[in-house]
Every structure is written in structure tokens, then in C-alpha cells.
């Protein structure tokens, strides 16, 4: 009898410890990044270009590049993802066809980002002759986050009660109109939340843009979608691994890391808060 309870206590201690270890690791990590990075952050750091072979100056071109790439990616992934989800949720008969599409989406979600990078290099940069530029990078990233957007949109569409659809169809409204005017507006907040998570993913992605968009250093800011750009994640990688000034530029590296982490986690946090707010405050 005693052993039963001793065993249970022991198990619960182990379970609580592992949860605690994870929370501690994340907490320590974030605090460390903040403490090390905050010293480098200044108005100049955020608004100036790097100079003296990137050992001084700011990261403005990288922030701008990441903004262009993520905006492009979401402009590509959002329409494709929402329309895919509408078909899967509202129109398709559940059968082997839909099952096949779903397996495809799951497999696409599991493709390593470096393979996306190779694919973008092969298709956009080489075959379509776009070269390494914003367009190639945004297309690659857009395809990379497509499964995330589809998943979020499907969940949002499914959360709209069936009675809404039935009421609309019962009034003689066509299926397409019902989807467009009744289902979609009600699902929109959920779709937005999911897309924000996609933006966070695209902003932090490095391997997929290495050969498709990112440049070591650009003298000018990009003027068209066929220009190469600097990007925050790639900037971190370059500063931390290449060149002869690795130790010297450590403060710059920590500063860039802090900016990227704040950006990505900020975006994710907005999505998480929005979602829990919406779950509590359902209108139906």
C-alpha cells in the first residue's frame, strides 16, 4: 500500500521537475538575451545602416528586408491558404480526395526549411531567372508558411456554427454567397490569428532565404522586388559565423538577436492573446 503512494509521489515529482526545467530554460534564455542585447539597442542601432565592414552602425536595412519578405510571404500564403481551407471545410465531400490533399498539406508542413531553400533556388532563382531577390524569397517563404495558414483557417471555419449556414441557405442564399457573406466574416478573426503565427514563422526563417533572397550586405536599400535584401536572421548568422570580427561584433549580434526575438515573440504573443480573448468572448 505504501509503495503505491510513494511511487506516485516520486512520479509526480519527476513530472513537475521536467515541466519546471522547460519553463526555467525558456525564462533563463529570454532574460539572458534581454540583458545581453539591451545595451546595444539605441535609436541609431535601429535606424542606421551598418558601416566599417559591418562592425559598426545599425541594422535598419535588415529590419526593412525582413519586413518586405514577411509581407510578401503573407500576401502569397493568405489568399492561397484561405481558399484552400474554404474548399476543404465548406465544399469538399470527405473522402479519399480530401484525405489525399490533407496528407499533402501535412507533408508540406514537414519539409525542412533548407529543402524549401533548395527548391526556391531551383525554381525561382534559376529556372524562372528571378535571381536572388525579394520576390524569390517571399514566394519561398509564402509556400513554407502555407500549411500553417491553411490549418488556422480550417480551424476558424470549423468553429462557425452550422446553424449560421443553415439559416442563410434556408433563406435561399446560394452556397457561395453564404460562404462569402456569413461564414467568412465570422471566421475572419480566427484566420487572422493563424496568419499572424505564420508571419512570426516567416520572420525568423533563415535557411529558406539563404540562397533565394538574403544578402551579406547591400550598399543601397532595395528599390524593387528584384533586388537582394538584408534580413535579420541572416544578419545574425553572418555576424556570428563569418569574417574576422566575430568577438568584436558580439554586442551587435546580441542586439540583433534581441530585436528579432522581440519581433517574433511579440507577433506570436499578439496572436496568442487574441486567440484566448476570442475563445472567451464568442458571440455565439
Amino acid at each position: 500500500m505504501k509503495w503505491r503512494y510513494f511511487r506516485q509521489t516520486l512520479f509526480f515529482i519527476i513530472v513537475r521537475t521536467s515541466a519546471f526545467v522547460i519553463a526555467l530554460a525558456i525564462g533563463a534564455f529570454l532574460v539572458y538575451i534581454f540583458v545581453k542585447g539591451i545595451g546595444a539597442i539605441s535609436w541609431e542601432f535601429l535606424t542606421e545602416k551598418p558601416y566599417d565592414s559591418m562592425t559598426k552602425g545599425g541594422i535598419m536595412p535588415a529590419i526593412l528586408g525582413t519586413f518586405y519578405l514577411t509581407t510578401g510571404a503573407i500576401l502569397i500564403a493568405l489568399p492561397l491558404g484561405v481558399v484552400s481551407a474554404i474548399y476543404l471545410c465548406e465544399y469538399a465531400k470527405q473522402g479519399s480526395m480530401v484525405r489525399g490533399i490533407r496528407i499533402g498539406i501535412n507533408c508540406l508542413a514537414g519539409v525542412p526549411s533548407i529543402v524549401f531553400g533548395l527548391f526556391g533556388l531551383g525554381l525561382f532563382v534559376v529556372f524562372l531567372k528571378f535571381g536572388s531577390c525579394i520576390l524569390s524569397g517571399a514566394l519561398t517563404l509564402g509556400f513554407l508558411i502555407l500549411p500553417t495558414v491553411i490549418g488556422a483557417s480550417e480551424e476558424a471555419l470549423r468553429a462557425v456554427p452550422n446553424t449560421f449556414r443553415e439559416a442563410s441557405l434556408g433563406l435561399g442564399v446560394s452556397k457561395w454567397h453564404t460562404t462569402l457573406r456569413i461564414v467568412l466574416p465570422n471566421a475572419l478573426p480566427g484566420i487572422m490569428t493563424g496568419s499572424i503565427l505564420g508571419i512570426g514563422r516567416a520572420a525568423g526563417e533563415t535557411a529558406a532565404i539563404m540562397f533565394t533572397a538574403a544578402a551579406f550586405f547591400t550598399a543601397k536599400l532595395p528599390s524593387s522586388i528584384f533586388d537582394e535584401v538584408m534580413a535579420l536572421p541572416y544578419h545574425i548568422y553572418v555576424l556570428a559565423t563569418a569574417g574576422t570580427h566575430i568577438e568584436e561584433t558580439r554586442p551587435l549580434q546580441f542586439g540583433t538577436v534581441l530585436v528579432l526575438v522581440a519581433l517574433v515573440l511579440g507577433v506570436d504573443l499578439i496572436a496568442i492573446i487574441m486567440r484566448s480573448y476570442m475563445r472567451k468572448k464568442k458571440r455565439w
Partner: protein
């Protein structure tokens, strides 16, 4: 145009859009093969996969990716040893033990960890963990299998934890109540009833976590050390497949043997992760819990 016809046309247009994911997947395969297959005009598939020498820039070059495959597998296995217990136990904590308040905070924290960019984790391993490992274990370099496995585990934990938690959460209440009614302790209920009932979901979680670790690029590129040799201890450097592709593609001359060999490495990596994903999909579909009546 009649209304029925219009609806039909719309449905078909939507269907084409829904196929986009499949089309992208097909395009990935086509372009990997288009740029990767020419290497097999130079060496055989067997020499490529099982050759133990990777010296792509030597004259004559060697394109054996066996050390890269071993590198990928080794860091994946070691990260699994850390990430599986941590991920599954934390899922049990969230699903079964945590008070609602802590659960509300803990779940988003895990999601935030999943959202951390891999380059940031790689940077952390490089700038902080590596010097510490080097000092503590008195090593020539802190960039090695151990470092890469620790960081990869940190990346795999949220994947494993959140999917496993979903599985545990969806185990019907009646199961637990029946177990308690028979006099079982919470521990016995969790280990003999809840976990076995959620086993398919937990297996899916583990496989997807491993798939994420094996395909992860920036972490292994920055902290695995980059030595293309079969490792002998966990303090040796390795060069997993993604790291090799990322590090060398920039320097490989366009459409040279080296360039094709890197695409061919991409093919191997792609099919490895595809395999993991198909197995996970099969398990979660085959053993789907449809309700308490299915068990």
C-alpha cells in the same frame, strides 16, 4: 448562366486552389530531382549514399554522404533522448496535474518556445553553450554533437509537448472515472489508462518532433562543428546533411558536380522527413480516437 452552373464553376475553381499544396510538393520533388540527379552520371547511387569520404572541393572530389547521414542521425537520436522524456512528461503535467492557472500560463510559454527562430537558438548554442561546454569538459571545441543535441532537443520539446498534450486531453473522462472507481491511484490511472489510450497521439508527437530535429538547419549549421567524419564520441564534431547543404551551396559553382551533389543530399533529406511524416500521419489516422466506444 444558371445559378447551379455558377456554383459548379466556383466549386471547381476552389478545388484547383486546394490542390496548390500538392502541386508545391510535386514541384519540390521535380526541382530537387532536376538539379540533383545529374550527380549520378558521375558516381553511382550506392557510392553516393554509402561512400565515407566527403571532399567535394578536392581534385578528384569525393561525394560520399555517409558521414553526413550518420551526423544527422546521431544528433537526432541524442536530441530525442532528451526531448522525448521532457516533452511527454511536460505534456502529462499540463494535461493531468497542472492547476488551471498554471496551465493557462504554461501552454503559451511552450508555444513561444516553438516560435523562437532557429538562428537565435543556434546563436545561443554558439555564443554561450559552446564556451561553457569547452571549459567544463576541457574540450578542444564546444561545437559538437552534445551541444547540437541539447539545442535541437529544445526545439523538439514544444512540438512533442503540444501534440502529446492534445492527445492526452482528448482521452474520454469516463476512462479516468472508471479507473478511479476501481480504486486506482492517480499515478496508476495516468500510466495504465490515460497514457495507453493516448499512445497513438504521443507516438505521432514523438515522430513529428524527430522530423523537426532531423530537418533543422541553422542549429546544426552553427553548433555541430562541421567535421564531415564518422564521430567516435559525443564530443566530436559532425556535419549533418542540412548543415552541409547550407554551408556549401553558396560556394559550389553553378551546376557543377558539387552543386548537383548538394541537391542530391537534399533529395535524401526530403525523403527521410517525408517518411517520418507519412508514418506519423498513418498512425494518427489509423488509431484515431473517435469516442469512448472505440476502445
Amino acid at each position: 448562366m444558371t445559378r447551379a452552373l455558377k456554383e459548379k464553376i466556383i466549386k471547381n475553381i476552389l478545388f484547383v486552389f486546394a490542390l496548390v499544396s500538392i502541386i508545391i510538393l510535386a514541384l519540390i520533388i521535380i526541382f530537387l530531382f532536376m538539379e540533383g540527379v545529374p550527380i549520378f552520371g558521375t558516381i553511382s547511387v550506392k557510392e553516393f549514399l554509402f561512400g565515407t569520404e566527403w571532399y567535394p572541393t578536392y581534385d578528384p572530389p569525393d561525394f560520399g554522404i555517409w558521414p553526413l547521414i550518420v551526423g544527422s542521425l546521431v544528433v537526432t537520436v541524442f536530441s530525442a533522448l532528451i526531448a522525448i522524456p521532457l516533452g511527454v512528461l511536460s505534456a502529462i503535467y499540463i494535461a493531468e496535474l497542472a492547476p488551471p492557472m498554471i496551465k493557462e500560463i504554461f501552454k503559451p510559454i511552450i508555444e513561444l518556445l516553438a516560435g523562437l527562430p532557429s538562428v537565435v537558438l543556434g546563436f545561443f548554442g554558439m555564443a554561450i553553450l559552446a564556451p561553457w561546454l569547452q571549459q567544463t569538459f576541457d574540450l578542444p571545441t564546444g561545437l559538437n554533437i552534445l551541444n547540437a543535441s541539447l539545442i535541437l532537443a529544445l526545439m523538439a520539446v514544444p512540438t512533442i509537448s503540444s501534440i502529446a498534450e492534445d492527445a492526452l486531453y482528448s482521452v474520454p473522462h469516463e476512462f479516468k472515472e472508471a479507473s478511479y472507481a476501481l480504486g486506482a491511484t492517480p499515478f496508476e490511472t495516468i500510466t495504465r489508462v490515460v497514457v495507453p489510450a493516448a499512445l497513438s497521439g504521443i507516438s505521432t508527437a514523438v515522430i513529428l518532433g524527430m522530423a523537426r530535429a532531423i530537418g533543422e538547419t541553422m542549429v546544426v549549421l552553427m553548433v555541430a562543428g562541421g567535421a564531415a567524419a564518422i564521430p567516435e564520441s559525443i564530443f566530436d564534431s559532425v556535419r549533418p546533411m542540412p548543415a552541409s547543404i547550407a554551408a556549401e551551396m553558396g560556394e559550389a559553382p553553378f551546376r557543377s558536380d558539387h552543386y548537383h551533389a548538394l541537391f542530391a543530399t537534399g533529395i535524401v533529406l526530403f525523403f527521410m522527413t517525408l517518411g517520418f511524416n507519412l508514418i506519423a500521419d498513418y498512425i494518427s489516422h489509423k488509431f484515431k480516437e473517435v469516442g469512448s466506444a472505440t476502445l
